[in-house]
């Protein structure tokens, strides 16, 4: 299979009757995803975009065999929604909701881990494998099946880059948007082994941001464990220290987490580091050619 999702992925949409939930249920269906159920407490029996709605995740799992979820419910209720999904036996939980307090996410992360479930996000675009399934909100138009893996902390920037890869005549195996919050369910270090082991991925594009040490941690992992070529880009070279740049994750604190520290670490780990996002497709194509000729 591809990374984390494939054509056996059966998706629940938690918050399907909300505007975002409905829109993205439709988009996931259009992508070819098996969206098998929606959940909104008190709305059991309705149908949204042809998808049956249940009162609880447990009911939806019992009736449809769902094994993944996308969470669109508002931040104050997201923790409950995630715990519900995990307790119902869901093992892949994509949390699209933004503005979830990190104290809540700490509980959510460790609880999911205790129960053997994986969280992607929160505040993330989710995951998609062209031709197979999409769990999340990445626009359908950017994809084309291929052998480039993309893993990113950004949202829209990821779409831009994935699209650029497509326009360059290449395609993607799996694209995974981790979200840029301070506490994420899946980090680069968690995601890289999945791409490294995925037989359908030849090369990984990694899109980082300033703030935190996720890219430095990833560099350490790449150095020791990743044999596939990695193209790395980090946004925020020009950001002044201490200013909040939208994501809570994008704060430079105490001289750590700067673009420079991340870029140096990735370069030293053997990744091909590019300075601007529009340089990514060429770098990818070049590495694939090099690999082909070896």
């Amino acid at each position: 299979m591809s990374v984390l999702v494939d054509s056996d992925t059966k998706v629940v949409v938690q918050g399907i009757t909300g505007h975002q939930g409905t829109v993205h249920a439709r988009q996931m269906l259009a992508f070819g995803t098996k969206v098998v159920a929606g959940v909104t407490p008190g709305k059991a029996g309705s149908v949204v975009e042809g998808v049956p709605v249940f009162d609880s995740v447990a009911d939806s799992v019992a009736k449809t065999g769902a094994n993944a979820t996308t969470i669109f419910v508002p931040a104050p209720f997201a923790k409950d929604a995630l715990l519900e999904a995990v307790d119902a036996g869901i093992r892949l939980c994509v949390i699209v909701t933004e503005h979830i307090p990190f104290h809540d996410m700490l509980t959510m992360y460790h609880y999911a881990r205790l129960r053997g479930a994986r969280i992607i996000g929160p505040n993330c675009p989710g995951i998609a494998s062209p031709g197979k399934a999409k769990v999340g909100i990445i626009p359908n138009v950017v994809f084309r099946p291929g052998r480039v893996g993309v893993v990113s902390r950004s949202g829209t920037l990821t779409y831009e880059i994935v699209n650029a890869i497509k326009e360059h005549g290449l395609g993607q195996s799996t694209c995974l948007g981790l979200g840029g919050d301070p506490v994420v369910g899946t980090s680069f270090v968690d995601a890289l082994p999945l791409f490294e082991q995925d037989p359908e991925t030849d090369l990984v594009v990694m899109v980082g941001e300033i703030g935190g040490t996720a890219e430095e941690d990833a560099a350490e992992y790449i150095r020791h464990h990743v044999r596939k070529p990695v193209v790395a880009y980090v946004a925020g070279r020009s950001a002044p220290p201490g200013k909040r740049m939208g994501h809570a994750g994008a704060i430079i604190a105490r001289g750590k987490g700067t673009a420079q520290s991340k870029l140096s670490a990735l370069e030293a780990a053997g990744a091909t580091v590019v300075t601007f996002p529009y340089e990514i497709p060429d770098a990818v194509a070049q590495l694939l050619r090099d690999r082909g000729t070896r």
């Binding site: 104050p76 307090p101 104290h103 700490l106 040490t213 925020g236 020009s238 002044p240």
Partner: protein
């Protein structure tokens, strides 16, 4: 990120039972004098500017006084300061205690480990960045387990405390954990934590509350921090808006793409002045509002860089066109628009009808925005 000034942090500490010096917030030299003369604050006292920046001591924003007149004069001197860009409007007048030792303690988040981390040092009273690593005890605290006796014993041993003051420190550590958890703090820092007789006393307080948790703590949503007035308006409208030093405005959708746009602009010689992240929206009215807000920051040029996902290109185009008719004469600006992604064709069409030419390439668009702001376009090569 709701950064609280010292006295607000101490108000929280008081609620949780942390030992504090007796003190009073004042806003004028006369109030400072009254605070010590009315006996609420014993002499000698210390008078501290209530600003968010660090280094107040070295920066002249902390003074001592032994009489009411001295307190008044000290307050007058500090209230006049513009401390690292912050106007000093409030002072904390506090008793000066007989300190035996100065310690450091903080609780914050370790993102990589996804755990709170307790940091402690026997070297308090200085910036923790300047304390050698081996003098800092870092203890991860699992959120399920909370702060346990063994964590506290480790800190107290690192501080070298025993007897009654160790018991006081033990209780203090519980309070720090409680504040961190119950108030949804990003940071709880006490530097210095002073040993005064048989007790530990928080001489300073640095508390940062997480923005996203203000639905549980509405009282913090009202607290002023270091936002500019336009940033404050943006916050109310739920637009991510940051003012920087330059003069080119950037409107994009998503933190990553916005930062990438700033990077490219800077590389070609432009100086980004406003960062405006539309986020995900499909409401043209919100886009219009964002543009009007941008206009009020008087940018020399604006670079609109959109990749349509949740935020569709036609939504942005509609909002932009509506805004253009509403921008007051004196606030108009040259616009470079690049739109790609969902409903790209529709968006380009709407802009075209309004006389705006949309571009496709990031590089060329950035160069155009730099030129429109009146800068010489530099080579984009990285040095």
């Amino acid at each position: 990120m709701v950064k609280l000034t010292e006295w607000r942090g101490k108000e929280i500490f008081r609620k949780y039972g942390v030992s504090l010096p007796r003190g009073q917030v004042v806003r004028s030299p006369e109030e400072a004098e009254r605070a010590v003369q009315a006996g609420g604050v014993p002499l000698p006292c210390v008078i501290k500017a209530q600003v968010l920046a660090g280094g107040r001591g070295k920066g002249g924003a902390v003074r001592f006084a032994s009489t009411g007149a001295e307190a008044r004069e000290a307050a007058r001197a500090i209230l006049g300061l513009d401390f690292q860009g912050e106007k000093v409007r409030e002072l904390l007048v506090e008793e000066k205690l007989a300190i035996t030792r100065e310690l450091y303690v903080s609780m914050t988040l370790d993102r990589s480990q996804r755990q709170p981390v307790l940091m402690a040092s026997g070297s308090g009273g200085v910036e923790i960045e300047n304390v050698p690593d081996e003098q800092i005890t870092r203890i991860p605290v699992h959120p399920f387990e909370g702060l346990s006796g063994f964590h506290k014993r480790r800190v107290i041993r690192a501080w070298g405390l025993s007897g009654p003051v160790a018991r006081s420190a033990d209780a203090l550590l519980d309070r720090v954990w409680e504040v961190f958890q119950k108030e949804d703090a990003e940071l709880v820092e006490i530097n210095p934590l002073a040993v005064v007789g048989d007790a530990v006393v928080a001489l300073d307080a640095k508390v940062i509350i997480e923005d996203d948790a203000t639905f549980r703590h509405p009282q913090y949503a009202e607290v002023l921090d270091d936002r500019t007035p336009l940033e404050e308006i943006a916050r109310e409208k739920e637009i991510a808006f940051v003012q920087l030093d330059g003069d080119i405005g950037v409107i994009a959708n998503g933190a990553g793409i916005t930062m990438a746009t700033l990077d490219v602009l800077q590389q070609f010689g432009g100086r980004p002045g406003v960062f405006l992240d539309l986020g995900g929206t499909d409401d043209p009215a919100k886009v219009t509002e964002a543009f009007l807000l941008m206009a009020r920051a008087h940018p020399k040029s604006v670079f609109l860089n959109i990749f349509g996902g949740v935020t569709r290109c036609d939504t942005v185009a509609k909002g932009l066109v509506a805004a253009m008719t509403q921008v007051p004469e004196g606030e108009r600006f040259p616009l470079v628009a690049r739109i790609r992604g969902n409903n790209e064709a529709e968006g380009i069409e709407i802009l075209k009808a309004a006389g705006i030419t949309a571009r496709r390439e990031l590089k060329e668009s950035a160069q155009a925005a730099v030129a429109a702001a009146g800068y010489t376009v530099r080579d984009g090569a990285v040095p």
